[in-house]
Amino acid sequence: MRYFLLSVLIIFILASSAIAGYREAFEKEFLYKSWGTEEQEINACLGCHSSDIMKPEFQGIPGEWKRSWHYQNNVLCHDCHGGDYKDATMSMSHQRGFVGTPKYADIPGFCGKCHVGILRNYLESGHGKALQATGKGPNCVTCHDSHNIQKASIDIINEGRCTRCHTYERAKIMKQAMFATENKIRDIDNLLENLTLEGMYTGNEKRELFSTQAGFRALFHTIDADLVKKRTDEFMQKLNAIEAKIKASFDELRFRKNFSAFLMLIFIGLGVVVYLLSKTYKD
């Protein structure tokens, strides 16, 4: 038996080194290719923009994007700029849909390809009208930045940012109108996060929250505090309904924990009884 296993060992070692040594295809596929770990996708945009051939002012873009909310949600370069990120030679070909950097006035349309509702409300707002009339009003990147886009929150409305263009007074009224609803959205978001960590599937509630939040934030882009106040109740009702579902899930989790703990105590008790019983027998 020993000789048999030794022979098998030798055959395996010889076979693997022979194949690895003489078969080019084998080498290429198995000897050098990283495997068993995550496959690294080739991205021509990131490759060039991170290299020294790129102008220094453009080299930071991949880093900014990797810190962004878009990155966390799998929104890649070509989703906004078009082109073919898998083919370096054709990555910036117009035939492959490359649109490059938009002109200042075209930025809302650029972002609005995905953020449709927000674009509509923005164009109706003072910000949008100013841009359309003069080509110089604030657009999406004025408040949200271009590549380092963070998850939107009420903190974006602040004195430092708004006073770059006008006084803070009106923005403050707007922020106050949104305050309670935004806080509720944040609290529900945290609750959902905790519920997910407890092992509950929260996909449906997350979708409902996202839809409500998107509707509310699209409304904000009208920059009409009266309209926001008027429709706050409607959004609060939706948020309360989501919160009630989450709380019911937490109650359910508590019940499950108590039920299992009860069964655990029963089995511990039975274990003790059996142990004591076994001590009474003398063989």
Binding site: F12, S16, E38, M200
Partner: protein
């Protein structure tokens, strides 16, 4: 009337006689400890898996469009649907722990020695079938974790020249993990593996009963001496005690660590277009997974693993020394500790991103 029925039953079935001869008069060796009960705990764990699995089958839909939703409905909508599922998940992991402990204790007590070599081989086979059960089972919820972990595992056979791609394609039913893979793994999990497992369990138990429990090396009795205590109640109560301990641990985990075996990726529906950043196999596959990652030649890595499995399985035939006390075999102690240390290290290493 009642007595008549009892007598008639006894006359035809002979249950009392069976209990008397097979349980009360059946002697176990002196010095058997609780480690001898791990076999029955494993068998019980398997039965729990079968029963909880039947309940899961009522609601589970083995189709990529419905599998994840059916599991989530079971967890969130079906009254007490979470209960069989949590038991199924926790017991599947503990079953692997118990089988490993069982094998380690058998190794330490050198109970695999002649004439029990085949009992050991059957036990190792049961460990591997349990692992295949786990592998086929965790694709079924069709979550991100199950999808990508299965993608990694079904990629492994491609290391073999010529037949590798064929084996991988048979497993997956195509070039990628898809609905066909789900159907195949589902059939494997509920129809093909159980009869194979039960047949080997039957063979294993037949050998245990036929050859008797091995006498511990530190016992004063000699092998084959029938001077120990009765199976019932002495050893039977030990078994029941360990079963209670096992269930206490199961409910402790469900109650206080419910997410221990359900990471976040297990709660995200499978998305074949989105590769997760860090996907890891289950803890019991981490050591072989890490071993394959650190060996740059894929074919060599897998050949080594097959060889190690062969040595592990056929070890009783390789260890021909007659000494049954491990304390008198320092080289074997060093080897066992080294093997366990390497396994634990690779598992911890494999867990890191």
């Amino acid at each position: 009337m009642r007595q008549k029925i009892k007598d008639g039953w006894e006359e035809r079935v002979g249950l009392k006689e069976l209990i008397r001869t097979k349980l009360k008069e059946y002697k176990v060796p002196k010095g058997v400890n609780i480690f001898y009960t791990l076999g029955i705990v494993t068998l019980l764990a398997y039965m729990v898996q079968a029963v909880s699995g039947y309940f899961l089958l009522i609601y589970y839909i083995p189709h990529p469009d419905y599998a994840f939703k059916s599991i989530q409905d079971m967890m969130n909508i079906v009254p007490f649907g979470w209960f069989p599922r949590m038991i199924h998940i926790v017991v599947s992991n503990l079953m692997v722990v118990v089988i490993i402990l069982h094998l380690v204790s058998i190794f330490v007590m050198l109970s695999y020695k002649k004439p029990r070599e085949l009992t050991w081989v059957a036990g190792v086979c049961l460990l591997f079938i349990t692992l295949i059960f786990c592998l086929s089972g965790y694709l079924l919820p069709w979550s991100q974790r199950s999808f990508w972990a299965t993608t990694i595992v079904t990629n492994i056979p491609t290391a073999f020249p010529v037949i590798g791609e064929y084996i991988a394609n048979v497993l997956r039913g195509g070039d990628n993990v898809s609905g066909i893979t789900l159907s195949r793994f589902f059939a494997l999990h509920i129809a093909f593996l159980p009869p194979i497992f039960l047949s080997i369990v039957g063979f294993h138990m037949f050998l245990v009963r036929r050859l008797g429990l091995s006498t511990p090396s530190f016992s004063k009795s000699a092998e084959g001496d029938a001077d120990g205590p009765s199976f019932y109640p002495y050893f039977f109560l030990k078994q029941v005690f360990m079963i209670m301990v096992f269930f206490s641990v199961v409910f402790f985990i469900i109650s206080f660590m419910p997410t221990l075996f359900i990471p976040e990726a297990a709660n995200t529906p499978a998305d074949p277009l989105k590769t997760p950043l860090h996907i890891k196999p289950e803890w019991y596959f981490l050591a072989p997974y890490q071993m394959l990652r650190i060996i740059p030649n894929k074919f060599f890595g897998i050949s080594m693993q097959i060889l190690l499995i062969a040595i592990f399985m056929l070890w009783p035939f390789l260890d021909t020394k007659e000494e049954k006390n491990i304390l008198k075999r320092p080289l074997l102690i060093v080897m066992l500790i080294a093997a366990l240390a390497i396994w634990v290290s690779l598992t911890i290493w494999g867990k890191r991103p």
